[in-house]
């Protein structure tokens, strides 16, 4: 297992493995997305209070979950960079940042589009919304900092520190609805003992969440392969491609 992991950390090996997995990941993502969309837009009944507007949650909630998950992945990569200076962790961290920023942007905008008919406003400076906006700035900070430093190894160490420092925002986002009075609703799905959402809505939501997870790996592999080619353009393995 350790040998497999060690081998996966080698750029040429990762490049080849990612290339082989991409077609499979594409199909799994497409099938999960289609199943989730069918369940969410066609099968699931309208909500008794929110009517049809609640269907935005099938893209909003998975986007918000991914925005947190990807930042945690980046923080783990940051720790690996600082401790072991692993090149692949640098590539994964910097390739994850635009994907994470995209999901954060989507969570904010789709949440805002749901908020208008339900709360009567697109935006409030509520703890959950504000901490999610700070997350978007953290992602943009990581991308900006990486682009601002020419030496990519130094840039990687700098963004690793930023990713590690910024991870403190993740529990703040998650618990903000419990710690502060908030317009945003409290936990619905993560109350695993008794989720306050009917299974006919929960199932498509989980399918969409799974689809977004696979999509993240797919998009990450595409970005990592492009980044590896750019960084290793003078390496022998790249010339042999």
């Amino acid at each position: 297992m350790f040998l497999w992991f060690h081998k996966l950390g080698s750029p040429p090996h990762f490049y080849r493995i990612a290339g082989k997995w991409i077609p499979w990941l594409t199909w799994i993502t497409v099938l999960l997305l289609l199943a989730g969309l069918y369940g969410g837009l066609i099968e699931a009944p309208p909500d008794y209070q929110q009517g049809e507007s609640y269907r935005i949650i099938f893209v909003h909630v998975p986007s918000a979950w991914m925005s947190l998950f990807i930042y945690v992945v980046m923080a783990v990569c940051g720790a690996i960079i600082i401790i072991w200076r692993m090149k692949l962790a640098e590539v994964v961290l910097i390739s994850s940042a635009p994907i994470g920023a995209s999901f954060t942007f989507l969570a904010l905008v789709t949440g805002s589009l749901w908020g208008k008919p339900m709360w009567g406003t697109y935006w409030v400076w509520d703890a959950r919304l504000t901490s999610e906006l700070i997350l978007l700035f953290l992602y943009l900070g990581v991308i900006g900092l990486h682009n601002a430093i020419d030496d990519k190894r130094t840039a990687a160490r700098a963004v690793a520190i930023l990713a590690l420092v910024g991870v403190v925002n993740i529990p703040i986002i998650h618990y903000s609805v419990e710690w502060w009075h908030s317009l945003h609703q409290g936990p619905t799905v993560t109350k695993f003992d008794k989720p306050s959402i009917h299974w006919s809505m929960l199932l498509p939501l989980l399918l969409m969440a799974l689809a977004f997870q696979f999509y993240y790996v797919l998009a990450l592999f595409h970005r990592c392969r492009a980044e590896l080619l750019r960084r290793e353009r003078n390496s022998k393995w790249v010339e042999e491609l």
């Binding site: 009517g51 935005i56 893209v59 635009p98 989507l106 589009l113 998009a219 595409h222």
Partner: protein
């Protein structure tokens, strides 16, 4: 969509657009890098 179409469909359209861009642009960048590499190797071997 029970009067909420102007909120629901733009949400889905935006998600589709962003997901597509995040899939398409890195693929394009990868292909460009490969093309540049091949061009460089060709020039070096001349």
């Amino acid at each position: 969509m029970g009067g909420y179409a102007m909120f629901v469909w733009p949400s889905y359209a935006l998600v589709a657009l962003v997901l597509w861009l995040n899939w398409y642009l890195p693929r394009k960048q990868h292909d460009r890098e490969l093309r540049l590499l091949k061009r460089r190797l060709k020039a070096e071997h001349k």
